[in-house]
């Protein structure tokens, strides 16, 4: 259902109350006939009259509207579902003639907030998605009851789909390159320019603006001095989310952390007016989105991460990605558990091609500890392999930090956010 009004067929049947009355009536008449005692027929009379008098017209179809407050929500966010039933003709009395009860049957990965049932012709229900992904909200059961509650009409409505975005990690700082492209932005570059960050004074030359003269410095030195400011530039950032391995508890797995970290980084860099793109690496290929600007880019990036399994890029590899996906001089921030050797090789390849790479390790679990000697040995070998992978990346000059998903992402990034990151192939 697209969220508008939907006509649904109503299936009517006797209520439990009516079935009880019917039992009393039929049992009374049966015993009266068998035992030839008319007083039993009299005992059945009230129930029979109630059943007869409660008959009425029953609509075969009603119109149901179910509108979620949003089609896009973050993990744990409450989505309100406004539902209303209406009808025409025999169904015009929905709400007045018939009582309406709504029962929400949430879809997989969606939890009801509070009671999943509500009464009234128009009411609200609330749900919250547990985990990121494209979620079916579920279905809605509508029960119509006549005024004497002798019959019940049942109808089912399928609810629309909800795009649940990963909850962004806490991140307020950003890693910035030392060499930035010559494009206006908000990062203070090492070159002089027309920014707002003071970077020094120099002697006045004809053509300088009078308002930039630093009068205290001029007085001290005896010659006119002018203020210099750092140029403000933007950078290209490509977020690389490794979706090849999803290990750990659902909700805090490596892929969960990778997507939350990437979402947080996308938000921070887009707020700083950088161009941000995304590549999702997975078995059999990679999905990508070229760097772009603006608020909409954030949603595009998250949509790309959610729909990474679709699109023409299936089967593509880094070597085959178009130039727009990985612009030269871009900062590549990688969120990966580093479990897939081919992905590590791809990182090495990118580094050799001159990209500046920054790796956030999101592996938070170890293989299970078992008492057998072989298992212990395998676990030890696995750990040594992991250490070797991380060592080899550091040897290549790739900064690598570990993030557990609990602490703010600012903490592991702190050593690299205080000073600019030297691009690949350059020395200070």
């Amino acid at each position: 259902m697209p969220g508008g009004n939907t006509d649904v067929a109503v299936r009517w049947r006797l209520s439990r109350h009516a079935r009880r009355l019917l039992t009393l009536a039929l049992a009374g008449i049966f015993i009266a006939t068998v035992s030839r005692r008319p007083e039993f027929a009299g005992a059945a009379a009230p129930a029979l009259l109630l059943l007869a008098a409660g008959r009425g017209s029953r609509p075969a179809e009603i119109s149901v509207a179910a509108r979620p407050s949003t089609r896009r929500a973050f993990e744990g966010e409450t989505v309100t579902l406004t539902v209303a039933a209406a009808g025409a003709g025999a169904a015009a009395g929905v709400g007045a003639e018939y009582g309406v009860r709504w029962t929400l049957h949430p879809g997989r990965g969606v939890d009801p907030v509070g009671s999943p049932t509500a009464d009234g012709a128009a009411t609200t229900l609330a749900v919250t998605p547990e985990r990121w992904g494209r979620r079916e909200l579920g279905s809605l059961e509508v029960v119509l009851r006549d005024r004497w509650r002798l019959t019940e009409g049942h109808a089912w409505v399928n609810l629309p789909r909800l795009d649940c975005y990963p909850r962004p990690a806490q991140l307020d700082t950003e890693v910035v390159l030392t060499r930035l492209p010559n494009r206006l932005g908000e990062h203070a570059a090492r070159t002089w320019g027309d920014g707002t960050e003071f970077s020094g004074v120099r002697e006045y030359v004809p053509g300088d603006r009078q308002r930039s003269i630093n009068w205290p410095a001029s007085t001290r030195r005896g010659r006119l001095q002018v203020n210099m400011f750092a140029a403000e530039r933007s950078q290209d950032v490509v977020l690389l989310a490794d979706a090849t391995s999803d290990v750990g508890e659902p909700g805090s797995s490596a892929l969960d952390l990778a997507l939350r970290g990437a979402a947080a980084a996308a938000r921070v860099y887009l707020d700083k007016r950088d161009r941000v793109g995304v590549i999702t690496y997975q078995w059999g290929g990679a999905g990508w989105l070229a760097p772009g600007l603006g608020k909409r880019q954030l949603y595009k990036i998250i949509d790309t991460m959610l729909a990474s399994d679709a699109g023409w890029a299936r089967g593509a590899a880094f070597r085959r990605l178009p130039r727009a996906a990985l612009p030269p001089g871009a900062l590549v921030i990688v969120f990966s558990p580093l479990l897939d050797q081919r992905f590590v090789e791809a990182l090495r390849d990118m580094r050799e091609r001159g990209f500046t790479i920054f790796v956030v390790d999101v592996l938070t679990v170890d293989p299970p500890a078992r008492p057998r000697v072989v298992d212990r040995l395998a676990r030890r070998v696995w750990r040594m392999e992991q250490q070797a992978i991380r060592f080899s990346l550091r040897e290549l000059g790739i900064p690598l930090v570990h993030w557990d998903g609990v602490a703010p992402l600012d903490l592991p990034l702190a050593p690299y956010t205080r000073r600019p990151l030297v691009p690949a192939g350059h020395r200070r």
Partner: protein, 194 residues
Amino acid sequence: MTRAVRTPVATGVAATLLGAAAAVWCAVPVISKGWAGFALFVVIGCVIASAVRLAVAWIPLSDDTFLLPGPIRAWLTFLRVVRLPPWEEGAVIAALALEALHPARPWHTAVLGAVLTAYLLTVHLADSGAPASTLSPQVPVLAAGACLLALGAGAGMLPAIAPGPGSALLRVVAAIAVIVAAGLVLPHISTRRG
């Protein structure tokens, strides 16, 4: 205890008391012929099970019990089982059968019919959580039903025109015909008034 909580509890207790009254009313005087003992056992069992069902009706049932511990799964299974059978229908049928095993006593049977009707209406109120005032539109119908109940009891007290089973059956058919006629006419009257 708030009024919203007190009302279903009170109606649940009232339904149980009415069920107990119906069981006692149809059982006295205690007889031992035929299936009387079994019918009495069924009446008592169904009334008790119905009371338990009403008492635990507010507890929500979880669909996914696979990962729950054993005692909780057993408790949820008990809840599911106790809600499934039609206990009230069983109690009504057994009570009427027990009453039929007694010698003919028309007014006694009429009172039992009234108690059973009240029992079912009270169970319905306890199930739905609705106040007793929701039954007020049904009062004229119930009054007509009470009249027919009295008529049936009166027909039972009339002496047979002639000896033999045919005469008794004729009385029953006449009583049923009156009730069916009332049931057919009453909806039209109530529609016109509405």
